[in-house]
Each structure stands twice: as C-alpha cells, then as structure tokens.
C-alpha cells in the first residue's frame, strides 16, 4: 500500500495532532464558557442589588409621606423644618441678577468662555474643553441654568416632534455622567444641529464622574437648537436622587465656592424638564416607561413643576400653609391642582393602546469596566428603527477576557459582601435558627435558603458560595467565615456594633434626609433637628435602637461642642474595611 512505514507514521502523527487539537479546543471552550458564566453572575449581582436599592427608595418615599401626614405634630415643635423640606421655591428674575452678577470670572480663568446668545461655536467650545478635562466656570453654569429654565418654562409637558424621510431622529437613553459615552455617540452620529435631531431620555446625571459636563453640553445644545435637541426628565433629574447617587457631591467638589447656588437653581430647572416626547403622534419617548394605568391625558395636564422629587409627594407651601394642607391631606399622589380633575367620561379622550415597548440605555460599562455595551436608536417616519451599539474603552485594544471578567467579578463580590455585612445581625440569626447543633456549619441548601430570604436577592448562591464562604471537606458551609475578613470601620470606638450596623445599612437614606434638612447646604444640622429626625426615622423604619444610644453617638460626633453635627463627616465615617484588600481612597467615598 504505497510507502508502507512512512505513510503510517505520517497518519499516526496527524492522528495524534488531531487528538491534541481536540483536547485543546475542548478545554478552551469549557474555560471560555465558564468565564462567560462568571461574567453573567457578576452582572446578575449588580442588577439584583440595584433593583433592591430601588425598592429601598420606596421606603424612603413612604417616610416623606409619613412625615407629611404627621406634619401637624412636627409643625408645633419646629415650624421651620417642614417648610424647609417642602417649600423650596425660588423667586425668578430678581434672583437671576443677584446670582449671576455676583459671580465673577477672573482673568486667570483658562476654561471655556461662553457667549450669550449661544451658538453652535459654544457647543464645539464646550466639547473641546471638556475633552481636555477643563471645568466650566460657575458663572457660565449659572447663566446656562437660568436661561435653560426660562426656555423650558414655555414648553408643554410633552414635546411634539415630526420626522421626515430626510430627517431622522436619534434617541439616547441613560448616560449617568459618562461623558465618554456621549462623546462616542457624537463621534459616531454627529453633533446635534438643525439637521441632526436628538432626544435624550433622562438620567443624564449621577453615578458617573462627569454629570456636570454632560448637563452643560446638553443644556447648551438645547439652547442653541431648542427645536432639535429634546430633553426628557428622568428620575435622576431630582435633587434627592442626586444627594444619594453622587451628582451633588460632584458639584460641591468641582464648585467649592458657588456649588450651593448651583444646586439651588438646578433643583428648580429639573422641575421644568418635559415629561416626555411624542414622535409623529405615534411614538412616546418617556423615562421609566409606562404601565397599564398610565394615562397620557392626565400627564398632559398636570403641573409638572410641582414635582420636586420622585421621593416626595408634590406639594407647595405658600403663605397660606394651613389651607393648602387641608386640601391635599387625603392623598399625596399626583393630582392636578388646577384644571379638570373630575371630568365626565364623555369628555375624556380614549385610552391609548400601546403596541411595543423598547428600552434604550446609553451608558456602557455602567456597573464596571466591561459589564455592558450602550446603544442609541435612529428613527424615521414609517421605517424600522435602527439600533447602534458601542462600548467605551480606555485601551487601544481590548484586554483579554479573563482579565475583564476578573475585574467585574471582584467588584460584584465586593459589593455583595458589603451587603451581607450591612445585614450581619439578621443573617446570623437566620443561620443560627437552622444550626440546631450550634456547630457553626450548615448544608449548602440551608445556607442558600437563609441568604436568599434574609437579603431578598435572587442570586445563584451555590455558584457564588466559593467566593463568599469556606466549606469543609464534607461540603458543609462555615457560615461565619464571610465575616472574618471584613468589618465596618467604627467611627467611634465605644459605639455598639448593632448601632453601627444599622447606621451603615441606612446610611444612604439618612444622608438624603439630613441633606434635605440642611437646605442651605452648610453641612451642619442642629442637635434638635438631628434628634427630631432620628425619632421619626426610628418609628417609621421600625428600628430597635434606643434614642439615648443615638444621642450619645451624636454628642460624640459634635466634635467642637457647639450643638451642631457635621453629618456628612458622620456618615462618611461608616465604610467597610476589607481586611484582605488595600483600601482605596475612592472606596472610602462609596457613600
């Protein structure tokens, strides 16, 4: 059969090579799949925790309603307090002059200088300046904010937009302060102009580090092209959300002198942002989507600027405080104050029937580098919408998959552990309930059950367990092992650990509440305010901490003994120490 030995050696050789290749391919595919699964698990952790936090906001919102209902009691003790909370309105033109003219731009300022009335050159100017990490001077920020408010006030709740075969419209979703994503969109799709329309569907700010820059570019573009750049209000265009999710901090950090002024005016500007955009009378673009009970007719009529915050019931306190309160006592939900509330059915327009819902999200790497792509939609008349996806990356070439997965995974596990820590007492109680023999061990099933029930997170606990706990050789879980290398840094040595844990758990809500009380953004609240607020909070959230314990803690936090508490410092002191990791400065500011 031909060359005998040599051909069979060749055959054997190639057979060996074939087998070897199969082995490597098989192994690699398994490895790659496990990487992708880990990436998915990390994403699931981020999403579950985010969702749980949103549910937590409901509790805060109920707290404010609760406060409003119990207003009369507080009213007697501190009439100033609730007025401050609910009556934050600005007078108009008088303030504008005051605010802007008192803010000088020094000659030494090297940043972008805007020229009013604004033109497209100002848009270019801002984009270039921000690419070079420059900061827009407070004077211009204030001017832009005042001017934006003036124009927004004239707009109805819903902007009507028409497309044509020669004029498409681009719809972008959440940006959350990720300036690089906005730049990428402009790079791929062009800057906004008379022939390049955009809708930005809310959540421009919070979480990312360049919320101010995004806001400025969007507002300036809006002022230059008011008929082609459309902005919808998102739930993060809200002064309370900003307190919790980072924009307030960004402003106070970048604008140390004038930050407070900016915050006050911004609060107002938000309320004038339109609720949504309607395209060709057929397509509704609105942040947060719709439900079965969404009634467009109602939304067209409400006074949108009365909605200060998604967490607060809409109410305005004028001179005539008591009368207002009596009117709205029964319901703190969205109710049009003026206009027809009780129309006869025949006068109402038919309810809308919606065919399809599309969600668009424009912040890539939202949770962590590599977590997700972003997208925008291009729409035109009767044509099918086109979707464009992208992902921002710092490097010129993508890092290997295993590195990207490792980054995401460690980040996700970290926040999950911190979550566990903030519920440590409840978790231990749940574990011990099942650990009859007090062995310190539970079966995988028991541990997973306790975790899921206590934390309220629907996660793949079995797959995640190697990252969270140690197991013995029988496969049983040492349930206390999670808490061995992680603890909350105590701001004050003597404070009891349950108190610390509670304060750590509710730190975001407390931060919002205290910041809201501190309406002049001084960073300080009085001891009485602190006590009053804590009592209310205590009763509403059903927390089992004795008043005197908090009082003691507060006294200790009043470092200069002048009767006021620097609550930001107070809350900043609560951060988690991961013993096995080096603590980054930025992590300490997770609050």
């Amino acid at each position: 059969m031909g060359c005998g030995t040599s051909s069979s050696t060749k055959d054997r050789k190639s057979e060996k090579a074939l087998k070897a290749a199969l082995v490597i391919q098989n192994w690699y595919r398994g490895y790659s799949a496990r990487l992708k699964a880990r990436q998915r698990y990390a994403l699931t952790i981020f999403q579950s925790i985010e969702y749980a936090d949103e549910q937590g906001q409901l509790q805060l919102s109920n707290f404010f309603s609760f406060m409003l209902e119990n207003y009369t009691q507080i009213h007697e003790k501190d009439p100033e307090l609730v007025a401050r909370l609910f009556g934050r309105t600005l007078q108009d033109s008088k303030d504008r002059q005051e605010y802007v003219s008192f803010v000088d731009v020094p000659d030494s300022y090297n940043g972008p200088r805007l020229q009013f009335p604004l033109t497209f050159t100002d848009i270019d100017l801002l984009v270039e300046a921000f690419k070079q990490q420059q900061i827009l001077h407070a004077h211009y920020v204030l001017e832009v904010l005042f001017e934006t408010k003036r124009v927004l006030k004239q707009m109805p709740n819903f902007t009507q937009v028409k497309t044509s075969p020669t004029k498409e419209i681009t719809i972008c979703g959440d940006l959350h302060g990720k300036l690089d994503d906005l730049f990428l969109i402009f790079y791929k799709n062009g800057l906004p102009s008379g022939s390049n329309s955009y809708i930005f569907n809310g959540d421009f700010v919070d979480r990312g580090k360049h919320s101010m820059e995004i806001l400025m570019i969007l507002f300036v573009s809006f002022l230059v092209y008011p008929n082609d750049l459309h902005l919808n209000r998102g739930n993060h265009e809200d002064f309370m959300m900003n307190l919790r999710y980072g924009f307030t901090k960004e402003i106070l950090h970048k604008y140390k002198l004038h930050g407070k002024k900016i915050l006050q005016i911004l609060e107002d500007v938000y309320t004038w942002l339109p609720i949504g955009t309607i395209i060709d009378n057929e397509i509704l673009v609105i942040h947060g989507g719709i439900s079965e009970s969404t009634d467009l007719n109602l939304l067209h009529r409400i006074e949108r600027h009365k909605m200060k915050s998604v967490l607060m019931p809409p109410i305005s306190i004028d001179e005539d405080q008591d009368t207002d309160l009596k009117k709205t006592k029964t319901g703190a939900n969205v109710v049009p104050r003026e206009g027809k509330t009780n129309e006869s059915p025949s006068e109402q327009l038919p309810k809308h029937e919606w065919e399809q819902v599309v969600t668009v999200f424009s912040a890539s790497n939202y949770y962590e580098e590599g977590s997700n792509r972003g997208a925008y939609i291009k729409l035109c008349c009767d044509m099918t919408p086109r979707f464009f996806q992208y992902q921002v990356t710092r490097a010129t070439c993508l890092r290997p998959l295993y590195q990207r997965v490792n980054t995401m995974e460690s980040s996700a596990i970290r926040i999950l552990k911190e979550r566990m820590l903030s519920r440590k007492t409840d978790l231990i109680r749940a574990f011990q309930l099942q650990d009859r023999s007090k062995s310190g061990k539970l079966s995988m099933g028991q541990w997973a059950f306790s975790m899921e029930n206590t934390l309220g997170l629907n996660l793949p606990w079995r797959s995640l367990s190697p990252h969270l706990v140690t197991t013995d050789k029988n496969g049983n879980i040492n349930y206390m092992s999670t808490f061995q290398d992680i603890h909350i840094q105590k701001p004050v040595k003597e404070a009891q650990s349950t108190l610390i844990e509670t304060l750590y758990r509710y730190r975001s809500d407390l931060q919002i509440i205290f910041n809201v009380i501190d309406s002049d953004h001084s960073g300080l609240i009085s001891m009485e305010e602190f006590r009053a607020m804590w009592k209310l909070f205590n009763s509403h959230y059903s927390i089992h901490i004795e008043d005197f314990q908090v009082d003691e803690l507060a006294e200790r936090m009043d470092l200069n003994k002048d009767g006021s508490i620097d609550f930001n410092e107070f809350l900043k002191a609560f951060y988690v120490v991961h013993k096995l990791e080096k603590l980054n400065k930025s992590d300490a500011n997770l609050l």
């Binding site: 082995v23 799949a33 290997p400 606990w461």
Partner: protein, 162 residues
C-alpha cells in the same frame, strides 16, 4: 437500601437546584426559557466539558420537536440531571492538556508560534471560529516573543479558575 435511595434523592435534589440556578441566570425574560445559543455555556458552567459534537447531540435532546430557538427548562432539567449523575463529559486534567500542547510542539521548544497555533486550532479537530481564535490569542500570546509559552499559559489559567 433505603438509606442509599434517600442519599440519591438528596443528591438529585441538590443537582436540581444547581441546574436551576445556572439556568435562571441566562433566563433573561424570566419565563423558564433560554436562547439555544447559551445552552453550551450553561452546560459547561456546571463543570461538564462536552465536545462540539456531543453538545450538538445534547441540544437535539432538549430542543422542541419544531425548534424555536429557545430551550425550555422542563426539557433541560431531566437531561442535565442524567448528565451530572452519570458524570459524563468530565473536564480535561491539566497534564493531559500539557501533553496535547507538547504533541503539537514537535521540536520540543517549549512554545508554539502564533501561526502554528492558529493553523492547528482553525484547521484541525473541531475548528475554532475567528472570534474564538482571537479570544484565545489575546490571553495566550506573549507580546514580546509573539509565541505561546504553553506551560505558563496553562498554569495561569488554572490559577484563575481556582
């Protein structure tokens, strides 16, 4: 006898929960179905290493009579439980993997060139797609020598997985 049965029931119950967890993570619409293209990932995330051919056969077992592009949990669970109980598709041990590389490295240099790896992975066995090839190269190639030092590579991957 009764004890053994009880033990097996417990094992099966745990397998069920494990499979459910892995499945749910890919069930994006929360309706007990996953895209058929993710089945391979799910099966491999449970510790099994079927070849592409074996994966094809498994998919055929769990697909609907008229393929919809989605796999339902009710069909997946029993098949996957069997696979786990029978300990099918066991993963490749580290030394087998090392020997495979050594076979391809016929002159025993301790490395493979980029071109050699590409040739073997895309022309032999169950060939890689371009995406798979690029993905493997991005982690395996040493940029200075433009070659794959497979011993180091394997060691790194093993550490990463533990």
């Amino acid at each position: 006898m009764a004890d053994d049965k009880e033990r097996e029931e417990l094992v099966v119950a745990e397998y069920h929960r494990k499979i459910k967890e892995a499945f749910e993570v890919f069930d994006h619409e929360a309706n007990n179905t996953v895209d058929v293209r993710e089945i391979g990932t799910i099966i491999r995330s449970l510790g099994c290493c079927p070849s592409e051919g074996e994966l094809h056969d498994l998919i055929a077992e769990v697909e609907e009579e008229e393929p919809t592009g989605y796999i339902r949990y009710e069909k997946f669970l029993p098949v996957m439980t069997e696979v786990l109980l029978e300990r099918r598709y066991r993963p490749i041990p580290e030394d087998t993997l090392l020997r495979a590389f050594e076979v391809l490295d016929s002159s025993k240099r301790g490395f493979l060139t980029r071109e050699e790896l590409i040739k073997y992975m895309t022309e032999e066995g169950e060939p890689f797609s371009q995406e798979e090839m690029e993905e493997m190269l991005s982690a395996a190639v040493d940029p200075e020598s433009n070659s794959i030092h497979y011993k180091d590579y394997i060691a790194m991957m093993v550490v990463d997985e533990s």
